[in-house]
Each structure stands twice: as C-alpha cells, then as structure tokens.
C-alpha cells in the first residue's frame, strides 16, 4: 500500500493533515444480522426464499398451462384473458427468481465486507522497454521504411476503404436530393376534388353548410394503390368546409379562390406537419391534434393560437361543367412546415 499511493486513498502519509483533507473513517464496524444471531430467524428467511422460488415455479407452470389450455383465436375477451394470464405467469416467474435471489443474498449469504486493494497499472520498466523493443524490431522486420511503394499502397488502401461504407450511407439518406418536390403537390388545374378514402369526386351542391370534407386529388384507383401514393397523399390532403358566405372573410387577392362559401385548405400543419383536422363547425376553428395550433377557417386559416407561424396554404377551387369541384391550380406556396430552401 505504501509504495502504491493512488488517487482513491485520501489520507496523507506524512501525518500533517491540512484543513481540506479529511480522515478516512474506514469501514464501519460489522453488525450481525438477525439471521446471523438467531437460528430461528435464519430458518424463517430460508422459508421466505423458498416461497419466493415457489412463486416463480408456479408462475412458469401457470404460464405454460395457459399457453396450451386457453384458446388464442376466439373472441377479443378470450385473447385478453389469455394474454393476461400468460403475462402474469411470466412476470411472477421472473420476479420470483429475482426477489428470491436478492432476499437470499441479503439475509443468508455472508455479509462481511472484504477489501481488495487496487494496484498501480504501470508495468515495470523492464516490461515497458521490452515492449518498445518488440515494436521497433517488428517495424524494421516489415521493411516498411525501405519499401516506399508498399507503404503508399497500404496507406491508400486503408484510407479508401471507409468510402465503401460512407458513400452509400450518405447517398441513401432521403432517397433523393430533389428538394423542389416539397414545393409541389399532385394538385393541378382542373383536377377534381375527391373524398378520402373512397375517392368519389365531390359536387359543390353536396357540400352543405357546416360540413367538413376530407379531400384527396381525384386520381385513378391504380395510382391510389401504388407505392408512391402515400407520400403524394401526405402532401396533397385538403380539408374542405362550407361556411355561410356572410361569415367568410376573404383577402382581396383570394376572392376568386373559394366557391359559394366553400373553402379548401391544406391539411398539413405549418408547424411540424401533423394533419390539422379537428374542425369546430360553430367557431370555424381548425385545431391541430399535436400541439394545439388553431387556425381560423373563416379568416384565411390564419393562426389564432399555438406554435404554428404561417396560415395554412389555401387551394384555389372552382366548379367544372358537370358541377364537380375542381382545383384552379396547385397550392401557390409550399405546404407543410418550414424547411431551409423555403423562401419565407
């Protein structure tokens, strides 16, 4: 101990304790437990441990019995009961072992403190010298200092190899780097508005006052079942409502964007992109379920509460010859939350 003065030992060897040092109080005196003093208590503790192990045994057997005995494919209530019993069996099986082991160790196993001294990690000077010697000899033996081409080849090979992992990793991020697709959705001029999820086109006369319609672009069944649809739909979803034209406040430049009190707004929140769809038809407020951003549908979907910063983009709509609602164009600004390349 005296020649290995290390950082865990705070006592000073020279006997001059300064004020900011304290005397190591050492290990407190050993106190014997009830089970050490009284054989009856030891017997009791043993019984308790046995009971805990027995609980585990019963749990395992119960779980196995339930697994085979209870039908798994009947009613929901049946599956629930089976799950419950299997789960409780598993829980007791493991908990019994854990509690028993801890209780056993605490009450019956030896609780005398033992001290293991820690030794310095530095090797002896002889060993260190030998190690350096071995490395130097190895380097000389390989001849890397003499063979310049070999040196260049090994360095190049080692330096290049990480690219084989890094390049695909970086290139696969996000699939492609075409940021401009965030600016556009499936909507285009004369495209009909259709119902989500059935895909039925919507006639203006069907949108009664107080209604809320969840709208997708009118595309073929084939497109709607394709792999790309889900990401296109995620950008193009629209919530459409009809208000009493007297309640509707419209900006001068957007007067032509609604049809007879019917307004359509992007359903993607401008905060972090959740679907904003909780529509209160009496207040005309549209709520986002994620962070409670609230938009006033009667007033250009401007933000009246919450963390969103911009109003929801409006989809300009009109009707075609057959009375179906159609888009006048795509959204005139990118939908959804802000991103780096967005201008405002």
């Amino acid at each position: 101990m005296s020649d290995n003065q290390n950082s865990t030992d705070l006592t000073k060897q020279d006997g001059h304790d300064s004020l900011d040092r304290f005397q190591d109080p050492g290990i407190p005196a050993h106190k014997s437990r009830m089970a050490d003093r009284d054989p009856k208590a030891a017997k009791r503790a043993e019984t308790q441990v046995v009971i805990l192990f027995t609980i585990s045994i019963i749990g395992t057997i119960g779980m196995l019995v339930a697994f085979f005995a209870l039908p798994q494919n009947t009613s929901i209530a049946g599956i629930r009961t089976a799950n419950l019993i299997i789960g409780l069996g598993l829980a007791f099986a493991l908990l019994g072992i854990g509690l028993a082991a801890v209780h056993w160790a605490k009450t019956l196993m030896s609780d005398h403190e033992h001290v293991d001294e820690r030794h310095g990690q530095r090797s002896s000077d002889t060993v260190r010298a030998e190690a350096v010697q071995a490395l130097t000899e190895g380097a000389q033996d390989s001849g890397i200092a003499r063979r310049g081409v070999l040196k260049g080849a090994v360095v190049t090979a080692l330096a290049l190899f990480p690219l084989a992992i890094a390049v695909p990793l970086v290139a696969e991020v996000g699939g492609d780097w075409n940021v401009s697709k965030f600016r556009h959705t499936l909507w285009k001029p004369k495209m009909r508005l259709a119902l989500d999820p059935s895909g039925r086109p919507i006639k203006a006369e069907d949108v009664t006052i107080g209604s809320a319609f969840h709208v997708i672009p009118d595309v073929s069944e084939e497109v709607r079942t394709s792999h790309e649809w889900i990401s296109e739909k995620a950008k193009a979803i629209v919530l459409m409502v009809r208000l009493d034209p007297r309640d509707l406040k419209e900006a001068e430049d957007r007067k032509g964007w609604s049809y007879d009190g019917i307004v359509a707004y992007s359903k993607v929140c401008t905060h972090v992109g959740c679907p904003v769809a909780l529509y209160e038809q009496q207040t005309h407020h549209l709520l986002c379920p994620c962070h409670q951003s609230t938009f006033d549908v009667a007033d250009g979907a401007k933000v009246v509460f919450g963390p969103a910063k911009r109003p929801l983009p409006q989809l300009p709509i009109t009707v075609d010859d057959e009375g179906y609602l159609v888009a006048q164009s795509d959204f005139l600004e990118p939908v959804g939350p802000s991103y780096w390349e967005r201008l405002k």
Partner: protein, 259 residues
C-alpha cells in the same frame, strides 16, 4: 289435461301462470307495438302534442316558433334526427349555459321525444330518424368503417372512439356507450362543434360501417390494460409514477441492509 288439472294446486302453479301471462303479453306487444314515430308517419295529433311540449320546454331559448336567435340555433329544417339525438341523450333541454351541452339523464320519454321530433320535422324538411336496418352493426363492414373513421372522426374522437379535448372546455365525447342510432344521427346532423357528415360525404352504407367499427371497439383491447386508450398521457403517467416508483422502490430495497 287431467294431469294439468290435478296439478293446479301445486305450489309452483302461480309462478308458471305468471310466466306464461308475461310471455303472452310481451309477444302480443312485440307483434302489435307501434313502430317509433318518424317524420313520415307522424300523426297530426303527435305534432300537436309535440308543439305543446315544445312551447313548454324549448321555446324559452329557441323561440315560440323555433326560429332561434343570434346565439340559439333555429330548429327549422334540422329534422327529426337532430331532435331525437339531442333529446334522447339528455343534451337538450340544456341545464345551464356552458361551453358544451353535455349528456345527462333524458328528460322526456320515448313517446314525448318522438312527438317533439315530429313537431320540429313538420317545420321544415330535414334528416329523418334512421331505420333499425340503417344502424345495424351486424350488416356493416368494420374494416371499411375503420378507414372512414380514421379519416373523418379519429382526430377528435380518438382512434378507438375514446374521445378527446377541443378548445375552451369543449370536448369530443367517448363513443363506447353511445347507441348506434345516436352515432348515426350525430354524423347526419353535426351537433354542436361537430361538423355535418351528410349522405354525400359519408354514405348511409359507410355510416353503418363506422357504427360497425365502433361497436367492435366496445369489446376493448386484446392487449390487457388499455388505460383508457388515451395514448401517451395515461401511459406516460403510468410509466413515470407506477413504473419508475416500483423501480426506485426495488433499488432502495436491494441497497438496504438486512436488519
């Protein structure tokens, strides 16, 4: 017959007779009971009684001829479905001014509700009370119902119909105890904050699919304790208070010395 006559003083005879009598009365009633009144079949008598009930109980707010005011909706053209929904769930008559009229024990019995509905339906055409077939969950397709529900209803009423909060004290109620007829009527008439989902938006068949999906949810989840199906709020509370509490308790117990 003789065996019967011999046992007429048996001590169970009155019980058997009573059961028979009940069975016959019930059977006859079921066969001849009047079907619930709807706007089409309501008699003028129903409408007149309904009008009297309306004058006594509803006219204070909705006006003597149900025309409403700036703050109270007009009932002309809301239809029998709206009246049946509001009155049979006890939401109307309203108890007090509140952010939202809440469900409470109904104040009118079925007959009175039907009379009120007949009166309001006579004021202007509106959605009628759905037929039993229209709301029969067994005839619906729960999987299509789930898709329709997810798009149109789940954001307010929760993915399994557990309900959720709206703004300023309003809320979307849980749908587990709502009757099939009331669910249909709510979609059709859009009570209070709820938007209207007319038959062109969600077709009658799709409405029945939604009902079928919701009826399936009444069985609860197969995964054990669903904690109200409220998602991260109740689950977080459970994990942080009960789960972490147990872990801390176990750590303290393991670390403590045995006495």
């Amino acid at each position: 017959m003789k065996a019967l006559a011999a046992r007429r003083h048996h001590r169970f005879a009155p019980v058997v007779l009573l059961l028979l009598a009940l069975l016959v009365t019930g059977g006859v009633y079921a066969a001849f009971a009047p079907s619930p009144a709807s706007a089409d079949t309501a008699s003028t008598e129903d409408i007149e009684t309904g009008q009297k009930l309306f004058q006594a109980n509803c006219a204070t707010c909705h006006g003597p001829s149900a025309e409403g005011s700036d703050t109270v909706p007009s009932l002309v053209g809301v239809g029998a479905a709206a009246v049946d929904f509001q009155v049979s769930t006890g939401r109307m008559p309203m108890q007090m001014e509140a952010p939202q009229a809440i469900e409470k024990p109904r104040q009118f019995n079925e007959e009175q509700t039907a009379q009120l509905a007949a009166y309001v339906a006579s004021l202007g055409a509106g959605p009628a009370i759905p037929t039993d077939e229209q709301v029969d969950a067994a005839l619906g397709d729960p999987s299509n119902g789930a898709a329709v529900f997810r798009t149109n209803c789940a954001m307010c009423h929760n993915a399994v119909g557990a309900g959720g909060a709206l703004s300023e004290g309003k809320f979307a109620p849980a749908l587990w105890d709502t009757s099939e007829r009331n669910i249909y009527q709510a979609m059709q008439t859009g009570p209070q904050s709820m938007p209207v989902f007319n038959d062109m938006n969600i077709t009658p068949d799709e409405k029945r699919d939604v009902i079928s999906y919701l009826v399936e949810q009444r069985e609860g989840s197969a995964g054990g304790l669903d904690l109200g199906s409220l998602g991260p709020v109740s689950e977080g509370l459970w994990v942080w208070i009960v789960g972490m509490g147990l872990l801390i308790g176990a750590a303290v117990w393991i670390g403590a010395k045995s006495s």
